[in-house]
Subunit: 418 residues, 2 copies
C-alpha cells in the first residue's frame, strides 16, 4: 500500500500576483508573510503582501528567516508569530529555509508546546500535532528544495551540531504557488546547488526501496515516506527529463525563462515525488556535510557564515552513493542515467552510467570537486559517518543496507570526485 | 498559468479497511456512508462502516443512490442526510454515481440552498458554495469515472431530459482510498464501459486545448478545467500505458488482480489528469447519448431502467471525434495512439491511427457497434446535437471549434463504427 499527498498547485508567470484571491478562498483575514533578508531585498515578499489588501486581507512581513534555519532562528520566528498573532494563514516566500520556517511557525501557532517537542527522535520528542494547522501558501523563489510539496521541516540544532527536522503530514503546504518569474534573481551558484537537490530528489526517490518491500504497516505506523511507488516514479522520471533539458542552460543564462520555467517545474515535480517516496543515502550524508561545515563560502550565498548549501552537500556524495546502491536495482539505475543524460554512452559497465552522468553534470555547472573541496579531509570521515548514521529515517529508504564501513567508504571516495 | 488539484491518495489492497483511522485524523465522530443498492449487496459499504467503530466513530449507511443519479435521487439523498445530520464527514463507496451523490450531500449539508441553486448555468444558478465542505472520502468500486479525483458532480435533470452537473473546487474529495480488491466484483460489461471512460479521460485531456492558448483569466474567473498542461499530460500518458497493458485482460478475467490493480491505478491517474485539464467532444456528446436513451439494457448493469452507461456513451463517438480534432494537434494524436496501442501499425494516414486503435480496443472488449446499436437512428441526430451544444463548458476545452454541422457529422458517422 502506498499513500500520496500533495499541495494544490498554481503554476505560471504571474501566479504570485493573485495570492490574495487564493487566501480569500480559505477565509483568511490576517496573514503573516515569512521570508529571509536576501529575498526581502528583492521586494517580492512586500509585493505579495501588498496585493492582498485588494482582497481585504491584512498582511505583515517577517523577514528574519535564517538561510539554513537553526533551532535558534526558528524559535525566534515562532516567538514573533506567537506574540503578534493570531494569524489565519501563513505565506512563505523564499527558498526551503523560508518555507520550512513557515511550517514551524504554522505548527507552533496552532498547537501548543515548543520546537523540541516535535523534532524527530532521538533529538526531539517526535510529538504529532494534535490540532489542524492553518492554510500555508508556499511561494518558492529558488528551484530546488521542493519544500512547497513536502511534509518535512529541516533545521540545524546548534548545540548538537546536527541537522534534524519535523516530519508530519499536517506540515505540508496547502497551496504551492510556483511563479518562474520569482526565480529570475536566483544567482548561478544557487541555481547550480539547488538544481542538484532536484536531481538527487528524483534519483533517490526513483532508486528508493520499493513500497512493496516493506512489511505491512498499521495505519498509525505509516510515515509520509513510503518508498518508490508508481506515482512518485512518474514525477521523478519527468523531473529528470526536465533537468536534462534545462539545468545547464539555467545556470549559464539566468534570464532564459524557458529554462527557468522548466527548472521550476522540475523542482515541484521532484518534490511531489520524494515528498511521498523519500530520499536516502545522499541526503543522509548531506546532513553532517552541511552541519559540520568548516570554512567554506560558496558563490551566490550570504557570505557572513561558512556553509555547504544543502543541494551541494547532497550532490557531492551522490555519484559514490549510486555506485553503491546499483546492485539493488540495476535497471532503475540505468534508466535514471538515461533520463538524466539522453546522450549517455551505453558502452562499458552499466553501474558506471549514473555516476558518470552525474559527474559530467556537476563539472558542467561548476560544483566543487568532492567534499574535499569544501574543506573536509580524511580525518573528518568518522565524524561525518556518525552524523549520517543519525539519519535512520532516511537510511530506512535506501535500497541497500549501508553499514558504518559502507558509509565511510562512500564519504572517503567522495573527498575528490575527478 | 495552470492549476492542479488532487485529493490525498491511499492505494493498495486492503486500504479500504483503515478508513476509520483516516477519518479520525480529520476529527470525525459521526459519518454517513453513501452507496448504491448493488454495491451495498456486496457487503463492502457495511464493512467500511463497521471498522470505523474501532476508532470511536459512529457510522450509518445510506444505500439508496441511483445508478446514473438524477435530480430526484440526489434530492432524496440530500433530504435524508439533512434530516439525520449533522455529519462530520461523508464516505462514498461505489462508482461515480455514489461518489457524485456524496459530493451533492456534502455540499448541501454544509451550505444552504437547494440543488438547483448550484447546478451549472443555464440549467441552474451556478452558485458557488460559501462555506467549506466536510471531509469526503471516496472509495471507488469501479475502475472508470475518476470521480474520486474531480470537482464535478453529474446528474440527469429528469424534466428536461438533460445531463448537467455542479462544478466547484470545493467538491473535490479530501481523500481517495483506492482498494483494487473492491473492484473484483465489477462485472465484465461494467469493466468494459467504465474502462472506456478511463481511456477517453486520458485521450481528451491529452488532446485538449493547451492551457497556454487561453486568454489570461482573472483569479476569480479560473475554472477547474484549465486545458492540456504538463501535469495533466503526465497523468494521461501514464493512464494510457496502463490501459494498453491491462484493459483487455481485466475484461476477460476479472480475477486477474494484476490487471485489476493496473486498471484501478489507470482510473485514478486519468481522473487526476482530466480533473485538471478537462474533457471535450466525446464527453459532451455522451451527455445527450445517455440522457435521451430509448430502450437499451447493457450487460452488467441494473436491468430495471434503460441506460447507456456513461463510459459507453463517451466511447461511441470517440473515434469520430478524434478524427475531427486530429488537425488541431497531429503529434499529440499520434503519440496518444502509440500509448494506447503499442503494436500500432505506422503505415498509412496518421489521422487514422487513433480512431483505429480505439476501434480495435472497442471490438476486443465487446462494445456495441456505434450509437445505432444502442437504439439511435439518423432521425435522432438533431436532438442529440442540441444536447451536445448545451455542454459549452466541455466544448470550450475542445482543441478545434465544432459547429452544429461538425457535431451532427460526428454523431451521424458514429451510428455504426465498423
Amino acid at each position: 500500500m502506498f499513500t500520496y499527498g500533495a499541495p494544490q498547485l498554481k503554476f505560471g508567470a504571474g501566479s504570485s500576483a493573485e495570492i490574495g484571491y487564493d487566501l480569500g478562498q480559505y477565509g483568511a483575514r490576517r496573514v503573516l508573510v515569512v521570508t529571509d533578508p536576501g529575498v526581502a531585498a528583492t521586494g517580492g515578499p512586500q509585493r505579495v503582501a501588498e496585493q492582498m489588501k485588494a482582497y481585504g486581507i491584512e498582511a505583515e512581513v517577517f523577514d528574519r528567516v535564517h538561510v539554513e534555519p537553526t533551532d535558534a532562528s526558528m524559535k525566534e520566528a515562532v516567538a514573533y508569530a506567537r506574540e503578534t498573532g493570531p494569524w489565519d494563514a501563513i505565506v512563505a516566500v523564499g527558498g526551503g529555509s523560508s518555507i520550512d520556517t513557515a511550517k514551524a511557525i504554522n505548527l507552533l501557532t496552532t498547537n501548543d508546546g515548543e520546537l523540541a517537542d516535535y523534532l524527530n527522535p532521538p533529538i526531539g520528542a517526535g510529538r504529532a500535532p494534535a490540532r489542524p494547522l492553518n492554510p500555508l501558501v508556499a511561494v518558492p523563489t529558488t528551484t530546488g528544495t521542493g519544500a512547497e510539496s513536502t511534509t518535512v521541516c529541516v533545521l540545524d540544532v546548534l548545540d548538537l551540531r546536527v541537522k534534524t527536522g519535523i516530519s508530519h503530514p499536517r506540515l505540508r503546504p496547502t497551496l504551492a504557488v510556483v511563479d518562474p518569474e520569482l526565480t529570475r534573481s536566483q544567482p548561478a551558484g544557487v541555481t547550480a546547488a539547488a538544481g542538484m537537490d532536484i536531481v538527487c530528489h528524483a534519483l533517490e526517490s526513483y532508486t528508493a526501496r520499493p513500497y512493496t518491500s516493506y512489511e505491512r504497516k498499521r495505519p498509525e505506523q505509516r510515515v509520509p515516506y513510503c518508498g518508490a511507488n508508481p506515482v512518485a516514479d512518474m514525477w521523478s522520471e519527468r523531473a529528470l527529463g526536465l533537468t536534462a533539458r534545462s539545468f545547464r542552460t539555467a545556470v549559464r543564462d539566468g534570464d532564459d525563462m524557458t529554462a527557468r520555467t522548466e527548472m521550476a517545474l522540475a523542482a515541484t515535480f521532484a518534490g511531489l515525488g520524494f515528498g511521498n517516496a523519500g530520499v536516502h543515502l545522499p541526503h543522509a550524508n548531506a546532513y553532517p556535510i552541511a552541519g559540520q561545515v568548516k570554512d567554506f563560502h560558496p558563490d551566490g550565498y550570504p557570505d557572513e557564515e561558512p556553509m555547504v548549501p544543502h543541494g551541494m552537500a547532497v550532490a557531492l556524495t551522490a555519484p559514490e552513493a549510486f555506485r553503491f546502491t546499483f546492485e539493488a536495482g540495476p535497471d532503475r539505475h540505468v534508466r535514471a542515467a538515461e533520463l538524466l543524460d539522453p546522450e549517455l554512452d551505453h558502452g562499458g559497465d552499466p553501474s558506471e552510467y549514473l555516476p558518470a552522468a552525474l559527474l559530467r553534470l556537476m563539472r558542467d555547472i561548476g560544483l566543487p570537486n568532492g567534499i574535499g573541496a569544501t574543506g573536509y579531509t580524511e580525518s573528518d570521515v568518522p565524524d561525518l559517518v556518525a552524523g549520517t548514521l543519525k539519519q535512520q529515517r532516511l537510511l530506512a529508504t535506501a535500497p541497500r543496507d549501508a553499514t558504518e564501513e559502507d558509509i565511510a567508504g562512500i564519504l572517503t571516495r567522495s573527498l575528490a570526485l575527478w
